[in-house]
């Protein structure tokens, strides 16, 4: 039985050949903060970090993760981005939001002072049908400003 390290905890998981990381997180581990909105790698709602890299968990097979560390929104609940998103009103229905925050966390880690264009580049894979984009930009800029 493969093991999976999620948010610093080790889990035994079932890994039938086509089982995706997203399904494993949501259905087997009960980590439903990771959303599935398309299931085929087009929207970013299912974004998690795998060894720190933003990864679409809906098209990542669980057996391919190996011993790399998975971080989900549940592991980022204390990240300053969470509060910044709420304050800036960078969420409406909120279904895309966990994925947005996970992607943004990698951005602000790698570029603590991103320009607007950096944000637009890094976040373009995370769709939001409610159109929270302007506020997402603000939230990320606010976190960057606070880190100064």
């Amino acid at each position: 039985m493969p093991e999976l390290v999620v948010n610093g905890e080790r889990h035994d998981v079932e890994g039938p050949a086509m089982r995706t990381l997203a399904e494993t997180l949501r259905e087997d581990l009960g980590l439903t903060g990771t959303k599935i909105a398309c299931g085929e790698g087009h929207c970013g709602a299912c974004t998690v970090l795998v060894d720190g890299a933003p990864t679409l968990s809906c098209i990542t097979l669980v057996h391919a993760v190996g011993d790399r560390e998975v971080t989900t929104i549940e592991g980022l609940r204390d990240h300053p981005l969470v509060d910044a998103f709420v304050r800036a009103d960078a969420l409406q229905c909120g279904f895309c939001t966990p994925g947005q925050i996970v992607s943004a966390s990698a951005l602000v880690r790698d570029q603590p002072e991103p320009a607007r264009d950096d944000i637009r580049h890094a976040m373009a894979g995370n769709l939001c049908r409610c159109g929270t984009y302007p506020k997402i930009e603000e939230a990320i800029l606010a976190v960057a400003a606070d880190a100064d």
Partner: protein, 752 residues
Amino acid sequence: MARLIRTEKEVEGKYTEQWIVVEEDSLDQWPEGPQTTVGRPAARVTGPARARGEAEYTADVQLPGMLHTAVLRSPHGHARVTRLELGPALEAPGVRGVLTPEECEHLTSEPGYPGEPVAAVAADTFAQAEAALARIDVDWEIVEPRLDPDDAVRREELIGEPQRYERGDADRGLAEADVVVEAEYRTQTVLHNALETHQSVCVWEGGRLTVYTSTQFIWGVRAEVAEHFGIPEDRVRVVCRYMGGGFGAKTTPGEYTYIAAQLARKTGRPVRCALTRREENLASGNRHATIQRLVAGAREDGTLTALGGEFTMAVGWDGFQSSTAGPMQMLYACDNVRTVEYGAKLNTGPNAAFRAPGFVEGTFGLECLLDELAAKLGLDPLELRRRNYADSDLVDDRPFSSKNLLECYRRAEPHWGRRDEVRARSEGPWRRGVGLASQIWYGAGGPPSYAWVRVGSDGRAHVITGGQDIGTGTTTALAQIAAEELGLPLDRVEISIGDSDRGPYASISAGSSTTPSLGPAVRAAAADVARQIVEVAAQRHDLEERVLSLRDGNVVSADGGSWGLEEITGLFDDAQIIGKGSRGPNPTGMRVLTFGVQVAEVAVDVETGEIRVERIAAIHDIGRVINPLGASSQVEGGIIQGLGHTLSEQRLLDPESGAVLTQTLDAYKLPTIADVPEIVTELLDIPDPHLTNLGAKGLGEPPIIPTAAAIANAIRDATGADVRSLPITREEMLRALEEARERERAVAGSAG
């Protein structure tokens, strides 16, 4: 005392009369401008739960023993099922039950569009259910699909009767015109694509059915599901606590709810039926395409003498006929207007309401036509609109409850005045320009809606209502209203919504109605509690009620006395003081509408046809603004959806088979963060003096309405080209540019 009232109710522009009971003591509106909490920016109260990934959406509901459903859908535009053998699917691993068209009226053996559901399989996992689908033995007899809306109108294959409207004499008006413009506009089919797909989880317990569903109307789902199963409505509980977007397409139970409920009954297990993204884009509704053949006549001074339109709407196999002619009938003071609307029945997925259905499409046509008229008259487009300003509603001959569109125009001037400077920034192949368009729409909300508010011994309030928050921020606005009325800080107000067993009836979240429908009920309920608290405090401290009021979490008396709210409510140990409130009627004999104007700035590469929208200023009159922060988000969201509708989104069909080619979010182009222009939001925030105890109208839909026309008009300003078809792809842009060049050559030729 309960008062029985017969009143008018409007949703998405459709009026009905109904009886309501109101218990509301009429409350005076708060004065104009920000109050202590209402009118000031508030972060949404559900924000932390959603952002932290704790909020339980329907998609997250997992029940012990829950089965998953896969649905067999027709791959054909139009077909008859000649053989359907489910036996092999039932034998497949993990399968617990199947459902056939004979068992469920929401399945069919004569599917009329690609994706129409035919049969369903429930299994332990979704993968097993899907694998079992492949084993179903099915034969289709293919019927040639009807896909051309004009053709359908010619054959009189229509959904509903043609809608005809006339006031005055349009022919005479055209004859009297100094200038006439005529043009054909087209809008495309647009897909909602809420990120949470349509879905339900159903479970039966002792003859009661619980439906967890992603819906805009828990009470509507309750009524329809109860009727389907022939059980009392109170045996159905509908729950939607967090909802991942709807935009109009989630107002009814949908086949997935019936399938899940029926399979749950059959198997004795909880059953989930969730659409995949591809199913979502096949069969969960759409904004129907339109063809608009329009004409306008005006005198030299710009006075409109006639407006006319023939609208063909590609409704699909079934669905909602939205009023595409509405803006032409309502926006301007034109005495002579004639419109006819045809809903074409086609072998395409049924349409569903989509954020200001009809008015987004109709405003594109009308407001582009007005600009073509302005160009021909040599008049400033903003001035043309002012000259045809409607002071009262000409459709029903009623006064407006409030209308501040002139003020919107005035506030638009600085943005409109950037024209010269913007044009001067044209450089090389990039031409820049500015365009504007007006907005008219409903948004009154209406009764019935009810709320309860309780204040506990700790002096905290809890608002309870059976509404739903589809992502618009309703819960936050309602909490602010209760906080204001009770003189409490916002963080001492909790709110529970989205459960038909645990709260009173509340209206649908559609037609920009949630806040104007529920808000007044919440305020009335909070006022009921406040009154009781004052009565209790008066008796306890031997004071007159009239000297007492609630402020900053205290009961204060005119002579300077002050008691913490919890000192009063704490008298009752853990018990509570409970208030209830209802939504009163809309003002009789008046038209309650929302208005606005948007000014867009664009850059067009005239060599490649690439279009960049650089800035949009949005000025809207929606009555009192409860939460300016959430309101600006609504405006931005509407504009960004409008941007997709204008430039990139389009459901594409195979012209032979009718198959949908854009089922994925890769093929169907939603706007991304990289596409977003600078957006400037200005809301007038003038309470409607006639509308409820709040004076607040709805804001969900107005911002998406004028965006496409404002962009198209900016493109004309930048390039001289008339774009008349959405989305404005590079092909459409290049076609329009070529047409403009030809026109110029013809003019030059005739001059030479």
